[in-house]
Amino acid sequence: MPRKVQVQTKINGEEVEFLCEPRQSLLEALRDIVGLTGSKEGCNDGNCGACTVLFDGRIVTSCLVLAVEAEGKQITTIEGIAMGNELHPIQQCFLEGAALQCGVCTPGIIVAAKALLDQDSNPSEEKIRLWLANNLCRCTGYDKIVRSVQAAAERMQEAR
């Protein structure tokens, strides 16, 4: 077995250093090494989006990124979305809008929605649907998710 590799990265704003096998994915490193289990594994081949994280601001499925690629990068996971004890408006709107049922896709969807609202403060329904098309949800039929992202966009605009 190849030797473990040391990786220095920034996760949710904090410096993190970990050892991983070269074959391990970022998702494995987050969950099994760093202990951040909020990112979920639904398929391990990039098709469900439950492991979505921000990778230097871009949305990626962390199961398709090697852990060693995190060297020197900035990673944001679902654990980094809330602001201290205060939920992010997207999280608050998901709760009020009943945008989750089983909740296992929710972390990935909230991370993806945050990336969308960070670059477009007033996205159309079509744009929300396109943006979230890599995040499968089997419980909700997406209706309440799309509406909750719209509600969060409005709330964030009001707060400005």
Partner: protein
């Protein structure tokens, strides 16, 4: 479009309450939007090692030998198991909550012995210090197979000379055992009236044959389990399951130990839809733990999910229906063959109960066939069996309406089942909401909105699911601060902690936030059947109401003692105890809670029930589509879902069930299928190729909740989880017909199927 009175989500309510009918934030909400909620795969235990399962590459093969010696020699491997490590099952039956099953089939599905019956069938398992090592070690196991011919569909498996899966499976024919060895495990009939006389009375008879593909529930969280076989001989399990007690009982049966030796702790569950009722991993992980001395975690891959869990049956269904010119349906006949997969138990029985369930028809004959094939052993999927069935009936009813020149909703209303209608399988309906659902559809702005443009069409369809009761237990303790701890045993998949807490709050006159629900492990709560059959808000709800009333009555006794009045002179309303006997006394629930320990001690309410009074649920869809005549692609322009929920405890969660069920039905209708090669290999076992609906494929799913209270529940709850998946395939098939003039008789109606139908109509060679 007429949108004047239109709201995307409407509730047609009949009774109002204080808490029930409101939309509070769920108790587990903060955990689930921050990533803190712990699902099965998130658990970490001291000394944990990882398991992986070797699966058959063949759909049908005799296992001649399994050599695990090289795997055992791998330095990271701590244990290896094969079916030789599980005891012989004999002829025992195991109760699964929604029906019993022979133990040998359950055990055989967990680890194959003798033969592999489908591609993906578990052959052996390895536990190693890391998952990657376990997966490497699987490659060191040598299995010698004698590959056998496979049979993959019900019609093929039923023919004479078809490859036989189980040499000891003999057909049960109309309730009687026979000596005939075949792949048909059961042929049954439902008879009502005189089918010949019925068809003789008909002016119009329509007969069609339908085929529907195997589909998967598609929950996003794969099956997972972590098992510790402790040094005291107790087995402890942490898993994502719809039924902790079902996992406990089936695991105990397979391991041949008393149920009290197994403890199941339910973790958060990432979707189930019926697919997370059977046991797959737990007995294997238990034996790996026993052999290694470590807790063992196994998580399925997505390909394993498709190839080795329980999808819902593919089917061939022939339906013939007769109607008079005045629109009265007089005869209905169905021949239904469902693919059970590798072991008996296709959902053809519930399918047969639902196939004509929406209509009051005098003469009915239904033949059902439960057929084993070389595909994964099927499981429940949201109203199991009913979606296949309604696809057939509801497209024929649409054709009837067209040929008779009657509005399709009027034709349904003219024949709608109502209180007192007897279903072909026996029961007479109590109060049901079929008529109310149809009326709501007819009156909805969507039905009356113009739909213009070429290749566009509107379709309607309805569906029925009977729902179930089954046992539930709970307890409830009162805290000194006036809050209440609710301990119950129903794994919460879609917000039932809250829908249960709301019912407790309603009884006790307190805020829903003052009830703290916990889904307890199997040591800590009384027996509770699976989260399935749309039962939790109804059945566990009744247990919660009963336990809350127990709390209320004990509080009443306590306050009577404190005030020195008779118990019957204490009244309770909206959270306040009063007594008008001489002095005017009054105390709130919260104030009294403070005094409990000083006035006699704590108060705990409890209930354990198996409720009668189950209320079935009707659903309906109006769907507008546009069909691309060049490619056959169907685009949904507008979709409205209707359902009789009984009283909607939390309307947002009811809408969520309706929207989610509708979209699963849409996926089933338009895209999803097990695409098998002739050797029985699934060619699309990834989420990319299986292609469930994404957010981009759909419009908003509008909802209308129709509340026809169920007299069997104190607040009128029926249960809403399942009926909503039933109508979409038929509604979309009817919409496709009205768009491009082709009657679809197979699922999925993917572009290939639609194009072939268009070419056939236009007489173009495909």
């Amino acid at each position: 479009m007429s949108t004047q009175n239109y709201e995307p989500n409407m509730v047609l309510s009949t009774t109002e309450f204080d808490v029930i009918g409101t939309r509070p934030v769920r108790h587990d909400g903060a955990d689930k939007v921050t990533g803190r909620a712990l699902y099965g795969a998130d658990i970490e235990l001291s000394g944990l090692i990882h398991g992986a399962i070797l699966r058959s590459p063949h759909a049908h093969a005799r296992i001649k030998s399994v050599d695990t010696s090289e795997a055992e020699a791998h330095p990271a491997v701590r244990a290896v198991v094969t079916s030789a490590d599980l005891a012989d099952a004999g002829d025992q039956m195991v109760d699964l909550g929604e029906g019993a099953m022979p133990l040998k089939f359950l055990r055989g599905n967990v680890l194959a012995s003798g033969k592999a019956l489908y591609r993906g069938h578990a052959i052996a398992a390895v536990a190693a210090t890391s998952l990657h090592d376990a997966q490497e070690a699987l490659k060191l196991i040598k299995v010698e197979y004698e590959v056998l011919p496979a049979t993959l569909t019900a019609p093929d498996a039923m023919r004479d000379g078809a490859p036989i899966l189980h040499e000891d499976l003999k057909t049960t024919e109309l309730g009687k055992p026979t000596d005939k060895v075949s792949n048909v495990s059961n042929h049954f009939q439902h008879v009502k009236g005189d089918i010949e006389a019925g068809f003789a009375e008909a002016d119009l008879v329509i007969e069609r044959e339908f085929n529907t593909a195997t589909v998967h529930q598609g929950y996003i969280e794969p099956h997972n389990t972590t098992v510790l076989w402790n040094n005291d001989g107790r087995v402890q399990i942490w898993c994502s399951s719809q039924g902790s007690f079902t996992i406990r009982d089936t695991t105990a049966a397979i391991l041949e130990m008393p149920v009290s030796q197994v403890k199941v702790t339910p973790m958060e569950i990432g979707g189930g839809f019926g697919g997370k009722i059977p046991v797959y991993l737990e007995p294997v992980a238990a034996v790996l733990s026993k052999k290694s001395g470590h807790p063992v975690k196994i998580v399925m891959s997505r390909a394993d999910e498709f190839e080795a869990t329980g999808p819902t049956p593919g089917s061939r269904i022939k339906v013939k229906m007769g109607v008079r010119n005045d629109g009265k349906m007089v005869a209905a006949q169905a021949w239904m063959a469902y693919e059970a997969g590798a072991y008996p138990g296709a959902m053809v029985v519930p399918g047969s109960m639902c196939v004509f369930a929406a209509y009051d028809i005098e003469n009915i004959l239904i033949d059902g066939f439960d057929v084993v094939v070389n595909k994964p052993s099927t499981a429940a999927y949201r109203a199991p069996g009913a979606t296949n069935a309604a696809f057939t009936t509801e497209t024929i009813v649409d054709e009837m309406a067209e040929k008779l020149g009657i509005d399709p909703l009027e034709l349904r209303l003219k024949n709608a089942a109502t209180k007192g209608t007897r279903r072909a399988d026996g029961p007479k309906y109590p109060r049901i909401g079929c008529v109310e659902v149809l009326e709501a559809m007819k009156n909805h702005p969507h039905y009356n909105a113009p739909l213009e443009g070429p290749n566009r069409g509107r379709g309607v369809a309805i569906g029925f699911w009977f729902n179930v009761g089954l046992p539930s237990s709970c307890s409830m303790s009162v805290n000194a601060d006036g809050t209440v701890m609710l301990i119950e045993g129903s794994p919460d998949i879609g917000g039932t902690r809250t829908s249960l807490a709301m019912q407790a709050a309603e009884v006790l006159g307190i805020a829903v936030g003052d009830v703290r629900p916990t889904v307890a492990d199997t040591d800590s709560v009384g027996f509770t059947a699976v989260t399935g059959g749309s039962r939790v808000t109804f059945a566990t709800g009744i247990a919660v109401i009963k336990a809350a009333r127990d709390v209320r009555d004990q509080m009443s006794q306590r306050v009577a003692r404190i005030w020195g009045v008779k118990e019957e002179d204490v009244e309770f309303e909206k959270g306040v105890f009063t007594s008008n006997n001489g002095t005017k006394n009054s105390i709130t629930f919260k104030e009294l809670a403070k005094q409990l320990s000083s006035s006699g001690g704590p108060i705990v309410g409890r209930a354990a029930i198996n409720p009668p009074g189950v209320g079935g649920s009707f659903s309906g869809n109006i769907a507008d589509v546009e069909v691309d005549p060049e490619t056959g692609k169907v685009t949904i322009l507008r979709f409205t879902a209707f359902q009789d929920a009984g009283k909607a405890v939390h309307p947002s969660y009811v809408e969520g069930q309706m929207q989610g069920g509708s979209v699963q039905g849409i996926g089933w209708a338009l895209n999803e299928e097990y695409f098998m090669n002739p050797e029985g290999k699934m060619m699309n076992s990834s989420l990319l190729d299986y292609r469930m609906p994404t957010s981009l494929d759909l419009p908003m799913i509008d909802t209308v909740i129709i509340e026809v209270p169920n007299p069997g529940h104190p607040y009128g709850v029926r249960g809403v989880g399942e009926a909503n998946i039933i109508p979409p395939p038929a509604a979309l098939a009817n919409a496709v017909y009205h768009a491009v003039g082709v009657r679809m008789d197979r699922l999925p109606m993917n572009p290939v199927a639609v194009m072939e139908a268009i070419w056939e109509k236009e007489d173009v060679p495909a």
